[in-house]
């Protein structure tokens, strides 16, 4: 029942293929990165015909495991020029898995100016002209739902993807058919746009859960994993009540909340844009607002809340911490409602909130937008959809915006913007930013856990000791988690409760009849990273790119007045299993 779906945008052929031997046992990020590394010429133009766009649910997709229906998107990134895996929640991951489709591989390009949509169901797949081209994500999905119904799930790009802006995202509908879960990073939406693919409609009818080698063992292990998630205070309660926004106040207190384009580590108006405030306002306004909302079937963490406007109507999903940060402290804006408007614009137009939000603060640093001017940001953001010159610059992300406005401090690694943790005050995550093959990305190795959250041990965030080992171990573990299809937030429980990892290994063994141990999970993570780094080397991205911009090493940041003081040689010990 397991197949690849190979879609050629030039010939319009859609072919189901048996899984080639070399891809057996891979899912999620392991599968997308392996396919990209094998099939894509590393020196190809990312927005040209030789790049491929790969969608893959994880190994535990379409099972009764909690939180295992995420979807990975892989390609060569037009933002970093290296390999990219960007993953998302929403319904399409679970639906594809239920149809037995382990990967969709999109190749070649349609004739420029043509827009197509891909219909996928149990035994058929075809490309048809798309009537929703020119629409942003919410209007596009509403129209598609009229045609295909509420049982399908939808993958779309907004106008940013159509314009092939390098911060364009791919949207995945949640359980309420809102296109607000995104594969945000690395410009994957631009790659989809370059192919002329506007939407994918997935009809799960007739799909079913995957067969299990040992049903009883799976059930028992799944129950243990669920217990670990519900019993841990972060995954059991904290994320549902406050979302990821709970981090605003704690990073402020730790002096690691980058403010006004990384010139300070604390923001005076932090409370106004905090998770506590979001929780309070959501409850007070009621209506369509929701605390504790899951973005995909099988989620028991439920971090994704719904933010209502003053009249109780839907305004946006709860913005993530990183979104609150970049449109808030980073851009000197302390208005929660306004930030939620920006969040919704990003979801609708289809852009990465991080690369675009950081671009806003960088444009302010360069005089392109007045510092902290919310109305000016609204106009600039609208320009992304309207295709104005400023909108296109910002929609191409932070690195482009920094160049256009002649900015000294452009917080990027490998062309991708740093997220919401100052690497001088949270040094462990700085190591991850510098070294991950993805370009600056907190999720690639979230050292904030031990640096700030006292989760999975404690490592002093202001010192160098232990940070490289911490980042290494987290990058390896994350690559595995991303391959299993698990939400990364399960890692909070995995780091603190030993039985959680054992339960995941037991679920994999019970599903596939394998005999994996915990060590094999480490080996898998290393193998994925090795594959990704090898692709980057062949693309011309060498170890020399594994560093932070020099203002982080030159300029101490208050309140701790520390710098990022790792040498390139030290950073190059992160992937110590790779022979040079």
């Amino acid at each position: 029942m397991f197949r690849f779906l190979r879609v050629n945008m030039a010939t319009k052929s859609c072919v189901f293929e048996d899984i080639p031997e070399e891809y057996a046992g891979l899912g999620g990020r392991a599968l997308t990165s392996t396919i990209v590394a094998r099939e894509v010429n590393p020196i190809c133009t990312p927005l040209g015909p030789h790049n491929k766009l790969v969608f893959a649910p994880g190994l535990l997709g379409a099972t009764n495991s909690p939180n295992s229906n995420r979807i990975s998107v892989g390609c060569k990134s037009p933002l970093t020029e290296g390999i990219k895996e960007s993953n998302s929640g929403g319904q399409p991951g679970g639906h594809l898995a239920k149809l037995g489709i382990l990967a969709i591989i999109v190749e070649e390009m349609a004739t420029e100016g043509e827009w197509w949509q891909l219909e996928v169901s149990k035994d058929s797949a075809k490309l048809v002209p798309s009537p929703v081209a020119g629409l942003n994500n919410f209007d596009a999905v509403n129209k598609l739902v009229e045609q295909y119904g509420t049982e399908c799930s939808y993958v779309t790009i907004g106008r940013a993807g159509e314009f092939k802006l390098t911060a364009a995202s791919i949207a995945f509908t949640d359980r309420e058919l809102r296109p607000q879960r995104h594969a945000g990073r690395g410009g994957v939406g631009a790659v989809m746009g370059s192919k002329g693919l506007k939407a994918i409609i997935i009809n799960p009818e007739g799909g079913k859960n995957h067969p299990l080698a040992d049903e009883e063992a799976f059930k028992a292990a799944s129950k243990r994993f669920a217990k670990a998630l519900t019993s841990h205070p972060i995954t059991g309660k904290g994320l549902a009540e406050y979302g990821t926004a709970v981090l605003v106040n704690i990073l402020h207190e730790a002096g690691g909340l980058p403010t006004r384009n990384f010139t300070c580590g604390q923001f005076e108006q932090h409370e106004a844009v905090s998770g506590e405030m979001m929780n309070k306002v959501t409850k007070e306004r009621g209506g369509e607002g929701a605390v504790a909302h899951g973005c995909m079937s099988g989620c028991i963490i439920r971090c994704s809340g719904i933010f209502p406007d003053a009249k109780g109507k839907f305004k946006s999903k709860w913005p993530e911490y990183e979104t609150l940060w970049c449109f808030g402290p980073h851009s000197n804006i302390g208005d929660l409602d306004l930030i939620c408007t920006f969040d919704h614009m990003c979801d609708d137009f289809g852009v990465d909130t991080i690369d675009v939000g950081v671009a806003i603060g960088v444009a302010m640093a360069g005089g392109g937008i007045p510092l902290g001017d919310g109305q000016a940001v609204l106009e600039a953001m609208q320009g992304i959809s309207d295709g104005t010159p400023l909108g296109r610059v910002i929609g191409c992300g932070t690195a482009t915006t920094g160049r256009v406005f002649g900015v000294r401090r452009v917080p990027c690694v490998k062309g991708q913007s740093l997220p919401a943790y100052d690497p001088r005050a949270v040094k462990g995550v700085g190591v991850t930013y510098a070294t991950t093959p993805m370009g600056a990305d907190h999720t690639a190795g979230y050292s904030v856990t031990a640096n700030i959250l006292s989760c999975g041990g404690k490592v002093d965030p202001l010192k160098k000791e232990g940070q490289i080992e911490l980042s290494r171990n987290l990058q390896i573990a994350t690559a595995s988690v991303d391959s299993v299809g698990l939400c990364l937030f399960t890692a909070f429980a995995i780091l603190d409760i030993p039985d959680a990892l054992a339960a995941i290994v037991d679920m994999l063994n019970a599903k596939f009849g394998w005999k994996l141990t915990g060590d094999d999970v480490v080996t898998l993570g290393q193998r994925i990273l090795s594959t990704e780094i090898d692709f980057n080397r062949r693309a011309g991205i060498t170890e020399a790119a594994d560093h932070l911009p020099d203002f982080f090493t030159d300029e101490p940041v208050p309140p701790h007045n520390t710098t990022f003081d790792f040498t390139p040689e030290e950073l190059q010990t992160t992937f110590n299993w790779i022979k040079k």
Binding site: H232, P233, I234, T235, G238, L239, E241, Y242, G243, T244, A245, V246, L247, N249, I250, E253, A254, G255, E271, S274, G275, E276, M277, C303, E320, Y321, H442, T443, Y446, V448, T449, I452, L453, S454, C455, K458, D460, P461, L462, L488, F489, F492, P559, H560
Partner: protein, 82 residues
Amino acid sequence: MSIQIKLSTTLRDCVPGYVPETGLLFEPEDGPSVLTAGELARRIGLPLEEIKIVMVNCRQSDLNSPVNNGDTVAYFPAVGGG
């Protein structure tokens, strides 16, 4: 001199009338001016078992860390995101 106390999420509910924007000012009335963060938490009625993270003057600390007049102490339960 006093000690400024900041609370996060559910810990705020343990101190009636807590104002997030200003935090809480604690004036030691008796005894030594040096407390531990744990002792301070106990005195204002925080459940110690719910405190996961302590910062004294923005530095990672713990319940045994000393607290002096003029310090800022922040308490957090287990929180996470990303």
